[in-house]
Each structure stands twice: as C-alpha cells, then as structure tokens.
Symmetry: C2
DNA sequence: CTGTTAGCGCATTCAG
DNA sequence: CTGAATGCGCTAACAG
C-alpha cells in the first residue's frame, strides 16, 4: 500500500499528524473528526469508529495551541507560589492539582521565591498563556499587579489569607486571628511572659506577629524585648540560633511562639541538645502543624491549617466561575484553623509549675 | 479625538488587544510590531519607541497560543513528578525552575501520585501542549509511554536514576550503589546484624533495598527476617510503627537502614519516647539527607543527594538540545551522592560498644 | 530596515 | 448528523 499522500508538508508544517490527516484517513471532513473527539454523541457511531481507528493508527495528538486559538479556551490554570521548599505549599498544590486534573485542566506553575517585586513580571508572563484561571498566593499584590489581574477577564483566586477587597475570589484564613487565639490560649493557661520568634517575615508571618502583639498588648504584657525576627529564610538551624539568642537575652521567658513549625522544631532540637526541658524550662509553640510536629518530643503545640482543602476550594471556585461564567454565590471562603494543644506547652501552667 | 475604529470586533474575537491593534496605533505593519518585540535590533529605534508606547498604552499582552501555533515553539517544559509532598521533589523542581524561568520557559507540572499506570495518560495530555521539553521522574516508564515519548521529537530527560537505555537524556544517580555504599560503611564500622525498613516501595526505594541486600549477601549476613517493607505511603508515624514491629521481632539487630529520612526520623522519635538509646541500643540510618536530618538527636547518618543540582542539570540538558537542535556531547550525567556519617551510627562499633 | 502574503491546526458559524 | 467557509493572533518566508 504505497501511501504517497504525505507530500502535504508545506514549508511551515511541523510534520506532526493533524486532525486533517485523521479526517482524510477516515474519509470525513476535518470538522467531523473534531466533533468525534470533542462531542462524540454528535457523530454517528459508524464514522466515530472510523475516526477513532484513524486516530490510533496515526498516533494523532491534538495540538493544544491550535485548539486554544480557535476556541479561546486554554484549559490552563496558572498558580503562583512564593516557594515550594516551604512545606505548606506542596500540600496546597496537591489540593489544586487533584481538583483540576480530573476536570481536564493543566497547572502552570510559577515561583516568586518571596521576591514580591518580581510578581508583576511573573503575572504578565502567565497572562500571555491566557490561562482560564489564576491562583495567587496572598493578598499583598502591588497596585500594578492588581490592575493587570483586574484588566483580564480571567477568574482569579487569592489564597492563604482573607482580605476585605479581593481582586476576584478569595480562600484563606486570618493568620492574625489564628496567632492571636494561640497566644490567648497560652495566656489563659497562665503564661504571661511570652516571646515571639519569626523569620522570613513574609506577609503571613507578619500578620501572625501582629496577632501575637495584639494579644500581648490587650493583656498589658507586651514587651518589645521578647520579639526577635530575622529576614533570613526559615530553617531548623535558624530556629535553633534565634532561640538561643532570645533565651539568653530574656531567660525569664515562660513560652515562645514561633512563626512556623520549622523554626519551633529547630528550637526544640536545640533545647534537647542543651538539656533545656520543654515545657518545664521553656514552653514552645509553632504554626502550621506540619506532619512531623505531632511526633516531636514533646509533641508541639501549634496551629493547624487545612492546606489541602484550601487548594481544593480555590480550584473549585475557579471551575465554578469558568463553567458558569459567573462567580459562585459566595466569593470568599474562610477555611479556618485550629489551635492544636500539645505538651510542648502546659494547658494549666500553675497546676504543674 | 473620536476613535471609532474599535469596531473590528468580529464575532469570534476575544476582545483582547492584539498585535494588529498595536501596529495600527503605532502606524506600522503587524510584522514590524512583532519584530520590535521579538528581535528589537531589527527595527529602527524610531519605530521601536512608537511601538513600545503603543504596547504600554494599550496594555498589550501577547497571545501565547497564537505565537506557538505560528512559530511551533511553546516555551513550555512539562515536568512529571510522582509527588510533591515528598520533600525531595520540591528541591529538584526549584533547580528546574531557577534554570528555566530566566531562559523564558514556563513549567507545566503533573503529578502521578505514584500511580504509574496513569503515567501514559498524563504524558499524552502533556504532549498535547507540544512542550519544548519534558522531564520525567525515574526510568521505569512502561512500553507505551516510552514509545509515545520517543515518537515525538521533543527532548526528554529522565531524572532521579541512571539507566543504560535512556529514552533521550538522563540525569541521576544509582540508588542501588548509594544504598550499597551506606551498608558497606556500616559493615566496615563493625555492624553485622543490619535491618532494612522501607515504605511506598517506589522504584528508588526498591533499588535502595536491592543495594542493601546485595551488601548483606556479599558478606553472608543477609537474613530475610531483617527486612520489613510496607506499601503504605511514607510518614513519620509509619516509621515509628515499622520500627517497633521489626525491633520487637528482631531485638538482636544492631542497626536499621530506612529507605528515607522521614521513616528514620519517625523511628528515632519512637526511640526517644521509649527510652531506646541511639546508637547504643540500636543504630539508625536514613536516605536523602533532608534539612532536618542533621538537627535530629542524635544527628542522622544518611545519604545526601544533590537534588537542586539534578534539577538544574536536567534543565540545562533540555535547553542545550532545544537551542542547538542536537543533544549535548554527553547525554547522561551522574550527579553522585555522599554517605553522610553522623552519630546515629558508630564509626567504629567495637571501640565504643 | 520594512511590508506583503500566506499559513500554523483547529473550532465556530452557518448551511444543508 | 455532516460539511464549507472562515478566522482565532501571530510569525515564517520572501520580497522590496
């Protein structure tokens, strides 16, 4: 069977099998082949089978760019995270991924490395892909980025935090409130001299610190000496270092809240090394409830955030708006948090101390 | 200045500003506008400035799909990982991201959740995007997936492991050899009764187990009772559970190698809880050298892998092949590993025991 | 250095 | 249920 019809290679063709090739092989028009793939029930079974056969014989793979151009749907969702090394984001991403992939969407990932000044450029790049939806981390986009995001008709979800003026839709929680609640819990347990250690000081960390300060002020226990922050990136090592620094400076401290579990765990390891007892000599609290936090010795008091669910909800918001062409009835979702009380802090300081 | 020319909205137009709009505003032909953006030095400064002005006034954002269709370059690299929750992959991804993003490429991410049977479908989906390059995890693609990947002209890099028959290019290391070396180190330190605990048992874990077994056989110390594996996903909790199970069954064990650091850390926490001393009562070794492993008490003996560099190298391979249209002189790169000796194992068992 | 022409591969629109 | 014509927005190829 000499098949000399392959001379349809114009100078610009990529050589890849096209829908026309499939149609020719199946003896139908290209549009029928197209329909057989997109809406099979609009094509008679006879032709459908022929077309499917041609597809698999030829090894046809649709060209996404052509499809997008013709239909102005890309089936791409852009996601902007500050970092993936920070263990919280992979969990959020999993939630997004697991919701979007079954719906036929692909995820285009970008990473700011916490360099907020690069966010605008990144958003611009991502918009070139004409994504069907965008998920951005946080609520602190600069004015230009906001405008960019608003000027497209693309649905946008801001995640991680809650804001009064969302760009579009919003899924998150109040880090301020969560941190405040944690500190109030400690205070109710009898703690007065509570410190705060934070690193990287991204917006979420900032807000957690504000929550801490608010609780301390409210009870007239606020003391600036008890607060230590670093712009360096979070790590176990840094947690150990900052802890040592603060505890030497302020040995009277009864408890220290860390802006995340990594830092807190680092401090706990340091305590173990130096024979400092937790919670007897110093109590420790973290934030995020990472998978190891329950296993630490002693288990770490912290704040748990439904990360996977947050990603899932954000993806669902997007899907809703894409499919129905209008926002869901609610455009903001508070995923909440829970203060997880474990034995790195006392539930009743006086009783035990 | 009445500007009534905006009636060029045909029924199919998306309404977005196009390059033609820019060209019209700048008083040049579309192709000149195109060139001003892609290769500025081919356009006189006079026109270039006019065009840039028009771009920013109109807020023009290029349409990626149209560009891809016309140029058959998508500037997209697809990356397939089994998981992001597994801390090793974010590090690899960072290396990929940091290399590709400055070069103008975007990352399309897919996640198999270790469901290898879904890999073929995922690859097919990703190929629809006509990526300029593909990075896949591991070397165990099934026959169909291999064929798919081979049938495209897209550059492919298999990462994490080394193989004799790469699909295209290959960056990784021998997990067999790494694990073997770790066990030999323990044996040279005087250990004889060494156990192995593994979970998830993905191909890398399998090969680490094989390396362990090989070393044990070689020294006639292999004992199937000393090996415990689980298909469940890796976690700290599981590490604790499996450790307890194996150590009760085989209290004569002198050391246990875990298929990764998470499992090993979980076991160490369990030891701490139960008052089992490390390394006196049992020595512990892990794999991956995660960021917390050095901070554990005692610091964990493990194998370090250059994850970031592996991602970087894979991305560089891709870029080389895309730019030069031919593979780099070497198509395989061994990133190596190093056995990290810390105090969760003795360097000389007899001297101390 | 600039413009004209044509086409990338597919899906929408409108007819039958 | 099927098809013809047309265009999505951009750039390669070839002039001038």
């Amino acid at each position: 069977m000499s098949n000399d019809k392959n001379n349809n290679t114009s100078s610009r063709s990529t050589g890849r099998v096209t829908l026309s090739d499939v149609a020719a092989k199946a003896g139908v028009s290209p549009i029928t082949a197209s329909r057989a793939l997109k809406s099979p029930d609009q094509v008679s079974e006879k032709l459908r089978v022929k077309i499917y056969d041609a597809v698999s014989e030829l090894g046809y793979i649709p060209n996404h760019a052509a499809r997008s151009l013709a239909s102005s749907e890309t089936k791409i969702i852009s996601v902007i995270f500050p970092s993936l090394s920070n263990a919280v984001f992979p969990d959020v991403l999993d939630g997004i991924h697991d919701t979007l992939t079954p719906a036929g969407y692909r995820i285009l990932l970008a990473n700011t490395h916490y360099a907020t000044d690069q966010e605008e450029g990144l958003v611009r790049t991502l918009l070139e892909q004409s994504p069907d939806g965008i998920i951005v981390t946080g609520i602190d986009q600069n004015e230009n980025t906001r405008k960019l995001l608003l000027s497209t008709n693309t649905p946008v979800v801001q995640i991680m935090e809650l804001t009064d003026s969302p760009i579009d839709m919003n899924v998150g929680l109040s880090h301020f409130q969560a941190s405040y609640d944690l500190v109030r819990h400690l205070q109710n347990s009898g703690y007065k001299k509570i410190g705060f250690i934070g690193a990287r000081m991204d917006p979420r960390s900032q807000r957690r610190m504000e929550g801490y300060k608010h609780a301390m002020h409210e009870t007239s226990n606020m003391n600036e000496r008890y607060v230590l922050t670093s712009q360096s990136n979070t790590s176990f090592k840094l947690g150990a270092k900052l802890f040592t620094q603060l505890f030497i400076e302020c040995p009277e401290l009864e408890a220290i809240c860390f802006s995340n579990d990594d830092l807190a765990a680092g401090a706990m390891f340091e305590c173990n090394r130096r024979g400092i007892r937790i919670p007897e000599d110093i109590s420790i609290a973290g934030f995020n409830d990472l998978n190891f936090s329950e296993e630490l010795l002693p288990p770490l008091t912290t704040v748990s955030i439904p990360l996977y669910e947050m990603g899932k909800k954000a993806a669902e918001y997007l899907l809703h708006k894409i499919v129905n062409r209008e926002a869901p009835s609610s455009i903001q979702h508070d995923v909440g948090y829970s203060v997880i009380k474990r034995s790195s802090t006392y539930s009743d300081l006086k009783k035990r101390k």
